[in-house]
Symmetry: C2
Subunit: 541 residues, 2 copies
């Protein structure tokens, strides 16, 4: 240990130690970039001077309404300006932000209200019925509802609750923020979408949020003054910490209530959006945009995509449109992305399917993480692009643990690593390639079938827009692959045709035994809800 | 304080907390960028794989030779490959790096050896006489000398000491690094050049070194794969932490033993150098390069300059050559740069002297610092570009304190800020403008005269290459400005002519009363040694 022989007088003090927190980024932006545009939402444009003052008002008003350090403040908000403001304003009064997924059912929201103990909920007018229904189902004290109206988008205040603008107006724009005294204090509480059982409350610390912003901007090759579009919902890992990151670079956050092709193209053309994150499905939306929704632009938009590898066909279609797509991988437990498919200059000349294969790699560890690897029985697997194991990781952008669930926390952190539950192999150059979420793997006749692999093959069929493959129980094989397919507008294909297409490209045991043509059920973040498909698959003959 | 109602099971553990240290950058580079070039020195080129292995060997060999965690390992080395390797290898065995300025006299080196207690010194063959002389003057146990030969540059091993390559050969390339268990552990001990009295030993913590690398790369708008040239000596604030930073981006450090125009141009043309830091005097060297030393290149080289504002004439000359110059300001106590003259897009169209004026601003706080301002009696001065005060700062890239000098530490950190001793005003937009190092201000007839201002005027004279202005004692006025001037090759000017030139542009009390034409004495980092000039000024009639 690197302690000098005499460390007298070398202790931490106010001059040389400041708890790490993304709040510092915004305080610095006020000093360095006061006149630059911090936030755009519809007709709203705020400079850092205004943005900081609004946030100070929000923090001050929450405090005035009885919110104390350590209290939880929930939001049920789309990616609107108030959601972004809450990301700074809630921690600025020492409280913990609990951004709730707007697509949840009222049962689950009631559970989250009770489990998290929110004192206040900032709720968009459109989601008031959800909050009200949830509160009706609660047995514990309910949060106070603050209504967040959005008249410009057709949501006028109902008049039953204190409205957000009136709350903000109560606050002092010069309010002295309550900064963390310890960087291990909690900044956010994010419930995982949990396909089975109750969601778990992932607790973020200020330190991790700060370091995740640093690591993300490095991986994303961001320089000063980015223009960031909110497509990843802010209730999903706090949009991968990106909203906290932008002030560090004097950049602009463009909020987008509804993710449509027109909305994305307009934001790029009108505001010069340079960066956004989103699931591959968002890429599809862009690729399949109507001509009337498209707008010309002359820069490259950098896209972080996660949730599934971007299909080769999508990549081939989107890159010529001016988008550079980089895959990242992570989980709520690690503040969003933790690996990135860092592009090597040596790959520059590679095109077509080989390029897509490279872009589909899960990648290597991002700068704020210390180690990410693939373990089989506690040891790293051979780097042979074959041996499967579980992705495990450790580093400073890892959650404190699950709220009120020390047992699940202990289990998740066993052996000093966070266990992702995702299955992968390692390429000889150390790049990880995820083959399946642990729960999505199909075991057919004792062989592991990667649903992602089968999906990739089906997606290459010219009639197919989207495909999802799940396990279907089978008497003989245990499980067999079952495919659910969305066809392109106007395109046609038969079950036999798809199966034949797969058989020509895959081992027999990997070929789907059934193909169902249907609209795929998706979560708010664009992930396909495989648990629903599994339920359907069970019922198929 | 943001502690949740129930924090059970949410403590730090191996999965979610890793002490911050720049050592992590190199460990990650080994995983992510193994095949990329980490280091170039003369004919040496090392990949990250090799670089990491060499450093592991060095750490292992030092341990084998009895260096224990907490011990101090000194270096007396120019910017050679071993100096760069020591920056990682010494902390990788848990020891503290004490990089000693090669230009110091043997008395001072003896003092540093005794005060720092170095156990080993890695000493370049050229500086063996200095180390030997210093050791002769010591009363405490002397460090063991390891000779670092540099045959390619004309310094063959003398044969009296264990040679660096033989030491490295003793080590294990798979040595498990001794990582800090606490990020507050010490990583480096840097003695300030102290113009009067004994130098003070500034102690760096691992946390600050890590965060300084993050902040520097953001300010410098660096992306993946920079090529960094070592011009700032690594013994000067560890080259502003840049050597520790480069692996974070998979970049290349190009080591340069002697800073010459030819050396700089060759490195840019041969290795594609993208970034370097250096005093304005280095800019002059480039501007005044002989035609035969110049090499063409077609990218923009980003230059951080510090120590004095870049003169308008230098900027006007160097920018068309392909260099973008950004001024930064800092001190050893804050790991090098702490403010940067961040360029505003709104300034893009501005040219000539007005552009130089903007570029000469000291700037705004860099991302790893929490606050930098100008205090007069403990309060921020008015932002009116007039009121003078002392630059004070606080943040995570601030030293632990002065080694074995708790009193000086307490004084430096009084009131929760590090006191720089530098005098400045603030522009209305918050940009700081340094007017003088506190000790360099001239007080004439009760009026403060900024030596920097007078120097700027003299430097604009067409015959002048460099100017330095100091106080000369004066019976009537207390002090008067006295100028020391280096003329351009072949140029001529008289004392009267320079004084007249100044009188036309400056208030009478700011006009130098004497002008002396001479070569200016400089430190190893290119700073003009005003204390020597002051001594001369005293003796002038």
């Amino acid at each position: 240990m690197g302690w000098l022989a005499d460390e007298t007088g070398l202790e931490k003090c106010a001059a040389n130690f400041v708890p790490l927190t993304p709040l510092s980024h915004l305080n610095r932006a006020l000093e360095v970039f006061p006149e630059r545009t911090a936030l755009i939402y519809g007709s709203i444009q705020r400079s850092y001077l205004d943005y900081h003052a609004r946030i100070s008002q929000l923090a001050s008003a929450l405090k005035g309404r009885g919110v104390q350090p350590g209290d939880v403040v929930a939001t049920i908000l789309p990616n609107t300006a108030p959601q972004m403001e809450a990301h700074f304003g809630v921690p600025a009064c020492g409280a913990i932000l609990n951004a709730i997924n707007t697509r949840l059912d009222s049962d689950t929201v009631a559970y989250i209200f009770e489990h998290g103990g929110a004192k206040v909920v900032l709720c968009d007018t459109a989601f008031l019925p959800l909050a009200e229904e949830a509160i009706k189902k609660m047995h514990a004290p309910a949060p106070q509802i603050i209504e967040v109206a959005d008249p410009e988008h057709g949501f006028a205040p109902g008049g039953h609750y204190l409205e957000y603008e009136d709350l903000v107006a109560e606050g002092d724009p010069m309010f002295q923020w309550i900064m963390p005294e310890d960087e291990w204090e909690s900044i956010a509480l994010n419930y995982t979408s949990g396909t089975t059982g109750r969601p778990k409350g992932v607790v973020y610390h200020h330190r991790g949020a700060y370091l995740a912003t640093m690591g993300n901007l490095i991986s994303w090759r961001m320089q000063l003054y980015p223009v960031y579009l909110t497509i990843v919902p802010l209730f999903h890992c706090n949009a991968w910490t990106h909203g906290w990151m932008v002030p560090l670079l004097g950049g602009t956050v463009v909020c987008l209530r509804d993710v449509t092709a027109k909305g994305v193209y307009d934001a790029i053309a009108d505001h010069g959006v340079t960066h956004f994150g989103g699931a591959p499905i968002v890429l599809n939306t862009i690729v399949n945009a109507k001509d009337s929704d498209r707008r010309p632009f002359d820069h490259i938009v950098e896209v972080f995509t996660a949730g599934a590898p971007p299909p080769a066909a999508t990549l081939a279609a989107i890159e010529p449109l001016g988008f550079n797509v980089t895959q990242v991988y992570g989980l709520t437990e690690v503040y969003g992305p933790a690996t990135e498919c860092t592009w090597k200059p040596a790959w520059d000349g590679i095109t077509g399917p080989e390029r897509a294969d490279l872009k589909a790699r899960t990648g290597v560890l991002m700068p704020m993480m210390e180690s990410i690897t693939v373990h089989d029985h506690g040891k790293e697997v051979a780097r042979d692009a074959q041996h499967l194991g579980e992705i495990v990781m450790r580093g400073n952008a890892t959650m404190k643990g699950y709220y009120k669930n020390p047992e699940a926390t202990r289990e998740a952190f066993e052996g000093g690593y966070f266990h992702s539950g995702d299955i992968a192999f390692m390429h000889p150059d150390g790049y990880i390639k995820i083959t399946d979420r642990a729960k999505d793997i199909i075991i057919s006749g004792g062989e592991n079938v990667s649903s992602v692999e089968v999906e990739g093959v089906i997606a290459a069929h010219p009639a197919v827009s989207l495909a999802s493959v799940v396990a279907k129980p089978d008497e003989k094989w245990g499980e067999v692959p079952c495919a659910f397919v969305e066809l392109k507008d106007g395109a046609e294909a038969s079950e036999e045709e798809i199966i034949k297409f797969c058989r020509e490209r895959l081992a027999g045991f990997k070929t789907p035994k059934r193909v169902v043509f249907t609209d795929l059920p998706k979560t708010s973040t664009g992930k396909i809800q495989k648990f629903e498909l599994r339920a359907v698959a069970k019922l198929l003959d």
